[in-house]
Structure formats: C-alpha cells, structure tokens
Amino acid sequence: MRASLFITCYNDTLFPETGRAVVKLLERLGIELDFRTEQTCCGQMHANTGFRGEAFSLAKRFIQLYGQTELVVIPSSSCVAMIRDQYPGLIEELGSDSLRREFAALLPRIYELSEFLIDQLNLEDVNAYFPHRVTYHASCHGVRSLHLGDRPYRLLSRVRGLTLLTLPNVDRCCGFGGTFSVKNADVSSAMLAAKLQDVVSTDAEYCTALDNSCLMHLGGAMHRQYQGMKVIHLAEILASTDSSLKGGRG
C-alpha cells in the first residue's frame, strides 16, 4: 500500500522526531511512503484566527498538492479537523466548482494516524514495546471533530510493557487553542494549570496524544515546573520496538 505523509508545518519544524517515528512505524508495517516536499501548512492557524482569505489559499494549495495521491496520512488531529470541518466552508465561499469536486474526491482518502492504523490497516497490535506508565490526553479535535473514540486506547493497550493510566477529565481542553494561547495567555495558563494537575495526578511517566500542539503546551509547562514527566506523540510510542529507544520531551 502507498500513502503520502502530510507531516504538518509545526511537526516539520519543531517535532521532527514525530515524523521520523511515523515513517519508521508505517514502513515497518509495509507501507510505501511518499513525502511531497512542496507541502507547507493546512491553514488551520489562519482560519482559526480569522484570516479567511489566507486560509483559503493554503487550503487550495493543499488540495492541489494531494489531489493525485492514493492516501494521505496526517499525524495531527487538529490539522485533519481543519481539512474536514473548515475546508468545505472555505471552498463554498471562495472556491470554484472544480476545486469543490477535487476536494470531494480527496476527502475520503485523508486519514489521521490512528484512523489509518485501525480503519484502513485493521491493526491494533503494531508490535510496539514501550515499558512505561503512560496516560493519554484526548485532544479536543480528536474527540469532538474526528470522533476517534477508543482507537488510541486500542492501539495503546496492545503495546507491550506499557501501563495505561486513566486521565481524569480526559476530554477537557488543555488551553492551547493556537493563537488563543497568546491572545488570552492568562486564561490559557489557568486552563493549562488545571489540566496539568489532572495529568500529574495519574503518576504517569509520559503523557501522550495524537496532536503535538497540545503536547507542546503541556510539555512546556512540565519543563517550566520541573515535573518528573514527559510528553510524547503516540506515533513515537508505536514506533518503538525495544527498550533502548528513549522518546519524549520535557
């Protein structure tokens, strides 16, 4: 099977280890991966901040770049949500009929990583080994937009050596929200403090998620506060196969 990787702008720049883990994992599962070097950003940040015209040109760019691919895998739930929830409205308002058709054809071929593993590959056990205590943060877009449901838990429960710990208030927002975190920095910080309290209460070694933006937020606070805990993208857990692999940030 062939799949094209949309790594997303911030993973590319700030969290390349997540991208490397996705490559390692999917190639281990026999997927032939392609990386289009023309890719940049899906436009989520612009759309959510009110820059609709700019978001539209990035949406158009994305659709044209991936129009000819078989499948697109994206290791970021909020970017997938942007494409599914906001592209239709942007195209409706600013786009052409041909773009609408192109998008309609592309949309069913777009997968968030855990959707790709479970829905497309029918896999729960990816032969991963990660001997640590882990808690899972269900990012807002993963829960309420993509409806990932128990997919991440099914994947995590099959990782050898891993102890999965329940996160209280699992679907409550960490307070990141893109530009919200700087436009409303104080409120965002208060939300983060509440979230971190829940995360720390699990006594996990790692907090994982399917979206590095939440993890950047949580990990940034963990590092600031000298919490004995790290954040790690789920892809990195699934990619690790032996105890020598050390992941995580913070």
């Binding site: 094209s4 590319d12 720049t13 700030l14 969290f15 390349p16 280890e17 991208g19 490397r20 490559v23 392609d34 990386f35 289009r36 070097t37 890719q39 940049t40 950003c41 436009g43 940040m45 612009h46 759309a47 959510n48 901040t49 009110g50 820059f51 609709r52 700019e54 040109s57 990035l58 760019r61 000819q68 906001q86 807002c140 877009h141 829960v143 309420r144 409550r172 307070g175 929200g177 893109g178 530009t179 919200f180 975190s181 700087v182 436009k183 409303n184 920095a185 104080d186 409120v187 910080s189 208060a190 939300m191 983060l192 403090a193 509440a194 950047m216 940034g220 606070a221 590092h223 913070g250």
Partner: protein, 494 residues
C-alpha cells in the same frame, strides 16, 4: 412619577455593558486571581454538569430529541415573521396587548409608559436575562420606579449590588457564606446562619410582603407559542408563578426569537431544556398562560417583543443559528474557559460560549470584539448544545469579521499577530520560503535557547507564551531535512 425625575437621575452604568466593558483578556485577570470565585464557579458547574450527564445518558433517544429540538428551532427562525404575526393575533384575541420594540431604548420606553399608565411606583420581577440585556432595572430606578427581584439568585445580586455571572444560575460565582453576609446586612438579620434552609426562609419572608403589596410584575418568556398565543415560563422556585398569578398587571418582555410554532413543540423543548439547564427531568414550575381570564390572574397583560439586533443576526447564514438558543447554559457549564473566568469577564449579561457569539452580534460587531477570540475552539459547547448550535463555527465566522473589519485600520500594522499571520501566509505559499524561514527561525531562536536546549524567555508576543511555559528550542534538523538526507535521492518527489 414625572419627566423631571427621568431627567434628574441617570441610570447606573453596568459592568456588563458591552460598550464600556474592558476586553476579555483584561477583564479575566482579576477573576483569575480570585480563588474564591474560581472555586465557586468550578464547583457549581461541575455539579450541574454531572447531573446533566446522568440525565442525558438515561435518555436513550437523546440524539433524536436533540435533532428534533434543533429542527423545531430552525424552522421557527426560518418562518419567524409569520409565526410572530400569528402569535400577536392569537395573544391579542385572548386579551393580551402586543408591543414591538426595535431596540433596548424603545423597549424601556414602552415599559415605562405602561408603568405610568398603571401609576406604578414599584414592580416585582421574575428573573429575565432579556431585561438585563436592556438594562431595564437601572433605567426604571432612574425614572423613580422601585424594582424588586423575586428570583432567589436575583435577590442576592440585587441586595449585594452584584452582577449576574450565569444565565440560569446568575449568582453562581457566590457561595452560601457570601449570601448569608448579604442577607444578614441588607435584611437586618443578625445571627442568620448559612444553612440553605435558613437563607431560603429569609428570602421567603422578604418576598411575601412584596408579592402581596405590589400589583405590577415584569417577567420574561422561555417560549412564545404562535398557534395559541401562549407564553411559557419555566423556573425552579415558584416565585415566578407568584409574579404571574398574584399581580393585577403583568408585562412580559421577550426576544422575538423565542417563538415556537405549535403547543406540542413543548414536548421536545421542555425535555431538552430542563435536562440541559439544571440537570432535572422536569423543572419544578412550568407556567403557561394565554392572554387574560376574567377574575383569574392578571387582568392587564402586555407582551413587549424585542428585536435589538436579532433580525440582523437572522439575515446572516452562518450566524443565524445563534438565535436557536433556548438559554439553557449547558455551553457555559461545560466550557473550560468559563470554568476559569466565570461570567463577569465576558462584559455582558450573556457570558460563556453563547455569550461570546451572541453579544458581539447584538452589538452589531461594534463592541465586544474580543469575545469571539475568548475560546480555545475546543468544541465542548457544540457537543452539549441541545439545539445543535455550532458555536465554534460561528466564533470563527465572527473572528473573520473582526479581522476583515480591521483591514483598513493602520494600527494593525503594530499588531504582532496580524504581522505574523501575513508573514506566515507569504512563507507557506512556497516550500522554499518555508525552508528559508525554518533556517532563519532556528538561527534567531538559538540566541534565546539555553544550554539545556529549551527556551525559557522570549520577547514580544513570545513572552505571552513563556510567561508560564518553556518552549523546546528548534531541533537541528527539520523533518524535511531528515527526509532529504535519508531518502531524497530515492523517492523524495513524486
């Protein structure tokens, strides 16, 4: 009451007047530093949310109920003009008098005029957020009319000179020891305990006299029924029922969006409202009446239908859904932002997610422009909304309007977010520009990166991030750099 009285006193300005309220981030600050308010808000919303959660799960047809509620409200709004006229016709035929107010000032004028006709020097009131929207109390008082709230929470706020922070539980930011202090001070009750029963008894004593002596009441409406001309008020305490039955004259103030086509629509609406609002299967008091009935209940009945910006919301495709709201407040009870800030930070009588979209629109996007940004877009509000208002979608639409409105404002050139967005948009158009920006960004941030590889402090907008979080420094190699080095020659580009 005379004209000179009206002229002499000017109404007290509310902290919740969107025209004068500080922007959300600024208004939130003192609350974030108030552990008592935050504790009260978190506790109260947790309790209501947990109750709601249980009652939604037990309802096996909740999804269908929600679909039906949404469809009923959408249909009513799409045919609003016709249903309002039908309501007016039926209500008038039953002895009510319907007045139309295009804005807050007109509504206040109509109500004042009605009170003058009644020679009313005082009124009792049922809890109504619409009257708070038009700042009715302060204007009535400035015109020499004494106003007595009868809803327990509203009494607390009125006697404590406080503002509502929630649309269903307006005194949610206060706890019972604060209530005890206010009652004890304002009712002259030394030694009053903070036992809920004692507090309720004190309020009951205070109220009984008002109910018996004041013959004029002002209330709101949860629903207006077009086919019968009926008005529906749901409440928990029974004080509303007293106001609706004991006085001689009743004035109902209602937003034009409150109309439902048929009586039987209540079957759906009352089920979703009680479960969503207070986590009850049914609210304790549901009052419905149609016009007047000789020798039973109020003999003069007026309905003031308020537009105040609503018809302009109705005209807009994405935003129209805002008017489906039935004011259950489930969105604020679940909102992680509201949980931290409570209601006052929103600078409006309508706080929380629904307030963040409703207030700026009622203000015709002239004020409250920080509110559409007062959300992390987590979507919890949409998930619980019993009439399926896609609040995040409307928030994003309003954000775009705010940004579009500033396109010709030169001050935006000093706004780091505006500049950042423009630069990012230029950069993301071409992959080579993006690669260049990654390179430059890494070089620039190296200056701020400590030996441990983390950034602890940034200037300008970055300082907003580093005030509470560190940021890991840029890695030496981007993903695309790694890919090019590893596979570029083999299968890089298709």
């Amino acid at each position: 009451m005379s004209e000179s009285v009206t002229e002499r006193l000017s109404p007290k300005r509310s902290r919740l007047d969107p025209e004068f309220a500080p922007p959300f981030p600024e208004a939130a600050l003192p609350i974030l530093r108030d552990p008592q308010v935050r504790k009260n808000v978190a506790h109260a919303t947790d309790v209501i949310q947990a109750k709601r959660g249980k009652l939604v799960i037990e309802k096996t047809d909740w999804r269908q109920l929600r679909e039906a509620a949404s469809a009923i409200r959408s249909h009513a709004l799409e045919n609003l003009g016709a249903y309002l006229e039908e309501f007016e016709l039926r209500c008038t035929a039953a002895g009510g008098i319907v007045h139309w107010a295009s804005d807050a000032g007109e509504a206040r004028q109509i109500i004042l005029e009605l009170l003058r006709q009644e020679n009313a020097s005082s009124v009792i009131k049922i809890k109504t957020m619409t009257s708070a929207e038009i700042q009715l109390n302060s204007h009535l008082q400035a015109a020499g009319v004494e106003v007595f709230e009868t809803d327990l929470a509203e009494i607390i706020l009125q006697l404590g000179d406080e503002e509502p922070s929630h649309i269903v539980v307006p005194a949610l930011h206060m706890n019972r020891s604060q209530v005890r202090e206010i009652f004890s001070r304002r009712m002259g009750l030394e030694g009053l305990s903070d036992d809920p029963e004692a507090l309720t008894a004190a309020a009951r004593n205070y109220l009984r006299d008002k109910f018996l002596k004041i013959p004029t009441a002002i209330g709101g409406a949860n629903f207006l029924i077009a086919e019968s001309g009926s008005v529906v008020v749901v409440e928990s305490e029974g004080n509303g029922r007293m106001c609706l039955t004991v006085p001689r004259t009743l004035i109902t103030l209602a937003g034009i969006e409150k109309v439902l086509p048929r009586f039987r629509d209540l079957e759906v609406m009352l089920q979703v409202l009680a479960r969503s609002a207070t986590g009850e299967r049914m609210n304790p008091y549901t009052s419905m009446w149609t016009g007047i009935k000789p020798d039973d209940g109020p003999q003069h009945f007026h309905v003031v239908l308020l537009d105040n910006g609503r018809s302009s919301i109705l005209a807009r495709k994405t935003e129209r859904q805002t008017l489906k709201c039935i004011r259950c407040a489930a969105c604020m009870n679940t909102c992680p932002v509201y949980r931290q800030t409570g209601g006052h930070a929103y600078g409006s009588v309508y706080p929380g997610p629904i307030g963040a979209i409703l207030t700026p629109q009622l203000e015709r996007m002239k004020h409250a422009q920080s509110l559409p940004f007062a959300s992390s877009l987590c979507g919890a509000c949409y998930e619980v909304c019993p009439v399926k208002i896609n609040i995040p979608e409307v928030l994003i639409e309003l954000r775009a309007q705010v940004v579009d409105g500033e396109r010709h404002n030169l001050k935006r050139l000093l706004d780091p977010i505006y500049l950042g967005m423009k630069v990012a948009s230029f950069v993301f158009q071409k992959a080579w520009r993006f690669r260049m920006a990654q390179l430059l960004g890494r070089k620039a941030l190296r200056f701020f990166t400590r030996r441990d590889g983390w950034i602890h402090s940034l200037p300008s907008l970055g300082a907003k991030w580093t005030q509470t979080r560190d940021l890991r420094g840029f890695p030496d190699q981007t993903f695309r750099g790694w890919w090019a080095a590893e596979r570029g020659s083999r299968n890089g580009r298709v």
